[in-house]
Point group: C3
Chain length 161, copies 3
Amino acid sequence: MGTIDDRLDALGIELPPPLAPPPGVVLPFAMVRVVGDRAIVSGHGPQALDGSIGGALGRVPDEVSVEQAYESARLTGLSILGDLQRTLGDLDRITAWGRVFGMVWSAPDFHAQPSVINGFSDLILDVFGHEVGAHARSAVGLASLPFRIPVEIECEVALRR
Amino acid sequence: MGTIDDRLDALGIELPPPLAPPPGVVLPFAMVRVVGDRAIVSGHGPQALDGSIGGALGRVPDEVSVEQAYESARLTGLSILGDLQRTLGDLDRITAWGRVFGMVWSAPDFHAQPSVINGFSDLILDVFGHEVGAHARSAVGLASLPFRIPVEIECEVALRR
Amino acid sequence: MGTIDDRLDALGIELPPPLAPPPGVVLPFAMVRVVGDRAIVSGHGPQALDGSIGGALGRVPDEVSVEQAYESARLTGLSILGDLQRTLGDLDRITAWGRVFGMVWSAPDFHAQPSVINGFSDLILDVFGHEVGAHARSAVGLASLPFRIPVEIECEVALRR
């Protein structure tokens, strides 16, 4: 077992299985696409441990609170780590986190998207540390997201050659 | 003629000419920017074969139906392939599709963005096949898009050195 | 002093200091993340020369006009150049601008996002010229942005090895 697996164990973190999409939904793309020494990660949402879409559903902050959305951003991070682990075989192949694009389904008068996406950033820094885990980030308000998820995140990591 | 050109011919696909922007609009950037072995593609919208903005205009689903928006995503793909062909000289230089970011001008209660952007993904997989054409993707709801287009897509491909 | 510093001087441009975030806001990420020969730039907003968030605040065009938002996009460019200069040591290390993603906090019936983000593109072309400064771009309408800023931009540049 690698260093990051040990770290996940120490933190008591379990990663979810592949996404079970809602009935009738076709997603004809890769959840992670490796191109050269980069792994490009598709937009992910919060997942429950049974593989289904997880956490509170709805717009922030009128249907889902900032605290709930923070937890959704963390669950989105776990979903991404699960897909990265399955695609890469080993999370220790990640040498650096790069771009993180955090999208929050937002009411027009909601402006605390950074506090929501911190649920993702805090997880990544906790698991990978501040050298590998450091990342560039945006956290912005979308008009709507698929399946009524409150948070969607896409990102990119660099890989050991 | 290359393999992809043959494939376009076999599918009866014609690519549009460069975008003719609406009167008075200045777009001071490259539709495709090649940096090293990557081609970074600017946000594109649906184009008609005369080069103008094409397809139904308006918000999804109140002004433009999901079926119409699926077709707009396909037209957006053709617009992107036209610009890639002109910039690269030959679409066979593309070795892998990478990131695809699909934006749908969405009513707040619309959540089927993936079904819309499938119009793009289905085209790319049909033309490039599942090895080269596989891509990472997000499909999300924007508050508004330029020129009232229902779909805008930006993406990136890897090139033969 | 390098070529780009000279150019900034000739244009009378002063770059702002690091962002002073609003009280209580934690931003646990890098404003610029260098990965290999790429500098990935986090979402930036308009900054005043004292380091605080600058320019008019609000939604475009009902609270902030297109002209004000164009100026905000320019101020966002200056904020990005400031962070790039501090991270890279020297803006002459930039060999090519790549992806630019321009986000405008937009009313649902506002569709002139390209005219707003031109404030950024015009600055970059003016400072870096049309060979290095050329970029791929999207300019789209977001439902809301952090701190009520009218414009947020993330981007990427290629670096001399």
